[in-house]
């Protein structure tokens, strides 16, 4: 007698052999993803396009430069997110070419420049500057650029121009940090705006910057064009600039708008004026173990103290 057992598993329920094989590649993919996630904080940056520039011997430092890897994996760039590794992780979303910079306001020769043209207006030079973050850490970075003063003289500010305002690109597609989401409870007001007094902008230390470490600016460091004022806290140095405007009123800067009691217009590095919530007396140089004392104007007092003669730096912090 033939007893027929009902099959426990219908053929339709049996996973196709190809899909079964795919399971393995899926697992490998997941593992690779997990690995890449844990490695992202330390992975070497993709080699940037080289940007040759002669070192300006007047702007060198005894201190060794911070490794490129740290400069490109430990960033504050709120447009990409508030965590230090967000910029390195999300930098690929930013498209630094083609790129134009609008220069306008109280100038005789307003113009929209292509960044490639802007880069070739004056000879590029390498300058090694200290960078002090308001959070209490610091780096030493070999920047590449030319003095902002050269460009300013070329566009001929009028007598009404008393301040210079820098605006960063506002594009949530390229800057995930500018997107609105369920979990962005607090955020800056976009676009990011920074500013300098005209005499600060004309100061020979103020560098219009296109590169670092012999290569074009990595995206996470503010590509394709940023400003660097080494005697001010890092956030004053606007990144990924799309507009430079000459104005008569002191600009309202992004951090000033966000928390006016904590971040003033000047934001000069000053070990004697604390951030309302933490001390600014010391800093940790990235790569060093012990904290070091923070220097007045980040060590550039000789060059810039005169800009603030007679000012109360506690009030105008």
């Amino acid at each position: 007698m033939l007893i027929r057992h009902a099959q426990d598993i219908a053929p339709s329920e049996i996973t196709d052999y190809q899909i079964y094989l795919n399971r393995r590649s899926f697992l490998i993919g997941m593992a690779a993803l997990a690995l890449s996630q844990t490695r992202s904080a330390v992975a070497a940056p993709p080699a940037g396009e080289s940007l040759p520039a002669a070192r300006n011997e007047r702007f060198t430092l005894e201190d060794p430069s911070t490794p490129l890897e740290s400069i490109t994996t430990y960033n504050n760039f709120w447009e990409m997110g508030p965590n230090k590794d967000d910029p390195a992780r999300l930098a690929h979303l930013l498209k630094p070419r083609p790129w134009t910079v609008q220069i306008d306001g109280h100038v005789a020769r307003p113009r929209r420049y292509d960044v490639e043209e802007l880069m070739r207006l004056f000879p590029l030079e390498e300058r090694v500057y200290r960078l002090r973050c308001v959070e209490g850490w610091s780096m030493v970075i070999p920047w590449i650029g030319y003095p902002l003063a050269s460009l300013i003289k070329r566009v001929e500010p009028t007598s009404k121009a008393r301040f210079v305002e820098f605006t960063t690109l506002h594009d949530p597609a390229q800057f995930p940090g500018q997107r609105k989401s369920l979990f962005s409870f607090s955020s800056l007001e976009w676009p990011y705006v920074e500013g300098l007094r005209l005499d600060e902008a004309l100061h020979p230390l103020t560098l219009l910057t296109f590169g670092l470490y012999g290569q074009v600016l990595p995206n996470q460091d503010g590509a394709p064009i940023r400003i660097v004022e080494p005697w001010k806290y890092g956030f004053k140095s606007a990144k990924s600039i799309v507009q430079i405007r000459f104005v008569s009123e002191q600009p309202k800067t992004a951090w000033e708008k966000a928390t006016p009691k904590e971040y003033g217009f000047y934001s000069n590095v000053n070990p004697t004026v604390d951030h309302p919530r933490w001390s600014q007396a010391t800093e940790r140089r990235i790569g060093e173990f012990r904290r070091r004392k923070t220097l007045m104007f980040n060590g550039y007092a000789d060059q810039v103290a005169a800009l603030y003669a007679g000012m109360d730096l506690r009030r105008d912090f």
Binding site: T38, A41, V42, P67, E69, S70, T73, Y74, W78, P82, K84, D85, E135, W137, G177, F183, S184, F185, S186, S187, L188, W255, A258, T259, R277, W278, S279, A281, T282, R284, I286, G287, F289, R290, R291
Partner: protein, 209 residues
Amino acid sequence: MWGVALSPLLLLLYRFLTDRLGPNPISYATNLLGDTTLRLLLANLALTPLRILFGIAWQMSLRRLLGLFAFFYVCLHFTAWIAVDHFFEWGELAPDIAKRPYITVGMLALSLLVPLAATSTSGMIKRLGARNWRRLHRLVYVIGLLAVLHYLWLAKKGVNDPFIYTGVLAVLLSIRLWDWARRKTWLGFQAWRRGGHSPTRTADEMRGA
């Protein structure tokens, strides 16, 4: 549970040994230890709400373990700050404890955890008496609030994590509050049914009239 609670420390150790702590290892370690403390505190404060909402109780036995691990991590967090970050610069640190509100509340939360950790043994429960012990350990609500405040007050604008922790703590404490209020009204209702009195008795009723 030991594995889960120890995994952040193991991760730290692994990254330390393989030189993967990133460009600012001290800050990375301090933040990770602080984050873990907060998470363990909140996990601990979630055990009772789980019982209230779903009537499951097996997790209640984890309270001591999670609490002690939270204390363990906050000690590491504190040590990293004092010994590694500031290298025992007491001249700078001591004024900061009083001057910086985020440090003040952090230190307060840490200090309040000490008696709780010290009285975590069964022997201490007996010695104090269950009632006193329970009263003392209600400090954990204050500690949770202080810990969240510590993070809220140190974070820069744009950092959302402290708001998430605050939201979770608010939900957990609300569940307890709601349960407490519900039980109170339920007991009142039963008393009223038994005695035929309204829960709020009149002065005459109180006098037995």
